[in-house]
Symmetry: C2
Subunit: 347 residues, 2 copies
Amino acid sequence: MRVEEALGERKLKILHAIIQNYLETGEPVGSRTISKYTDLNLSSATIRNEMADLEELGYILQPHTSAGRIPSDKGYRLYVDLLMEEKEQELDELQEQMLEKADKMDQLLKQAARVLAANTNYATMVSAPVNSANKIKFIQLTQLDEEQIIAVIVLGGNVIKNKIIAVSEPLSNENLLKLNMLLNTTLNGMPIEQINLGLIAMLKEQAGSHGDVVGEVLDAVADAIQIDEDMQIYTSGTTNIFKYPELSDKQSAQEIISAFEEKQQLTELVTRTLAQEENTGIQVYIGDETPVQTMKDCSIVTATYELGDGMKGTIGIVGPKRMDYEHVLKSLKHLQNELDAIFHKKP
Amino acid sequence: MRVEEALGERKLKILHAIIQNYLETGEPVGSRTISKYTDLNLSSATIRNEMADLEELGYILQPHTSAGRIPSDKGYRLYVDLLMEEKEQELDELQEQMLEKADKMDQLLKQAARVLAANTNYATMVSAPVNSANKIKFIQLTQLDEEQIIAVIVLGGNVIKNKIIAVSEPLSNENLLKLNMLLNTTLNGMPIEQINLGLIAMLKEQAGSHGDVVGEVLDAVADAIQIDEDMQIYTSGTTNIFKYPELSDKQSAQEIISAFEEKQQLTELVTRTLAQEENTGIQVYIGDETPVQTMKDCSIVTATYELGDGMKGTIGIVGPKRMDYEHVLKSLKHLQNELDAIFHKKP
DNA sequence: GTTAGCACTCAACAAAATCGAGTGCTAATC
DNA sequence: GATTAGCACTCGATTTTGTTGAGTGCTAAC
């Protein structure tokens, strides 16, 4: 608000025009262009004066003397926060493609990333839902054969974990039953963070006489329950960055694509996004604002979706700073709703 | 053999020298270079004459008049088949990195891809093991809560599948027990291809009176068992292709990287590789020989590894045609053994 | 405060010039 | 007959130079 006042309406309009034009063309925009293609009815000279001011204020900058102006990060920020008007538009295509086939979660998410990439022409990522504060809902051990026991553990949000445990001697049916009872009564409803060595030791004690085998099994179960540190992230359209010359020189392309392949940095991004608590769940990082230094020449827009039970995932779009913010935000919101709907419909 | 005779030893030596030099530099190699940097003691003029012959025979070619020569696909092929001498070398590093941490299969494979990429400077892929002729080893249905049943299915090679089934009305304990019995007696040991609608119908009949719920459950189980058509493939070092100018123009890079991200084509490659039955399990595709047209300017080297139970997976390396075949083959064999060892040690 | 006009800047493009690696061919040599 | 030195020639790559035009800043007039 204050910024808006301080700048004055005319400057704002000019800034808006510059940004919009730059978003379309990717070329620095000059005073003449603005003078001609807006309804401001000002000569290029006047625009030049205003532009000089805007540059001094840090909203735009010149790549080199005697070039037009391009928006600075600060300029983009103002644009996203104030200037952008969200125009409604149809986008049912997305929906249809989406619902087509979506029985398995991972396929669904991969598909989501793909559709979003196709729809926006940027690189996209979708993280599988995680829940740091998840609880155990159900545990069961079953004898698979003489030497193996299979443990099935169901967490909140119906996340299932399996582990096959090799045992040196078979467990009696009776013991297995007891063990199941014990595990369920003790662990049921327990947040997984609370499962630590101490607890395991206690369990072993309670299990008592059955000796080593029980110990082995309990250790294995504890191991299986641990949160897997690397979350699943699906990406698509990474090569879309080649469509934007400012990102597609070898150096940048190399870095960005690597980041998308190795996922490490994306994980960080997701974690950060999920941590941040905002009402809409949508966040925009412009240039240097990014949590991931590799992408300091990009803009990143992220959204979170929910599954209930506190399970959350992230959708993200990475593109050039001159990304079509309106379109991206719209698509993202749409997909967000879509996912919410799907997950709440079929649990 | 015949080729070797036909060419004559000197031509072979020259060809060898040309290829080796080209592998290192990536630049067309001229007669002078060969004349100077080999122990042939021939003048550049002589080399030129020989080169003219080699070109006529199709083993090398000129990118343009008055440029040096580069190997043709046919030349590479000869090199791989005959000329290459596998020199032994240490490579324990690989092994160490490998064993460091490898409890979960997917992490292990991802790690394998990564190590291989780092080691070779090419793009790599590792497919998770699949088994088209897999059998059911164990099935169990358990009541999770009032409205949900969880199905756990274990296949050969200890592949586990889960499915949560929503039921409209709870199943009685007794019915559940019967159903479990039925499933195990009928399906145990059965190859998953044989599970089709007919069989399901028969099962439903045998289950008899229990009505719709059983039907629902059986359908769900059948669904869960189906082979998931898209296999898991882990990639790494895709951006290594930027290191090779001949692959890193926008067009090619774009295509190759896309192929690595979207995996569709890699799946095809893996399928093809697994189908091919060769003793060593190692295959080399040079240029146009590739099953994946996108990579017609690359060479691809693949190897299969085994888990027993007929489960097989693939490791692959994609790089420029002037790849360091010796090194690649060596690394690949090494990793192949490594994986075999790991999997056979800890089942 | 706005605008017309002008000198100036500078990236981008294109044409021209230069360079040099490499070739094929011929004639001399072993 | 095989090898080699030598030379004219080719052609991509690089550098140089010139040209263009979009765009600026500044000044003076409106």
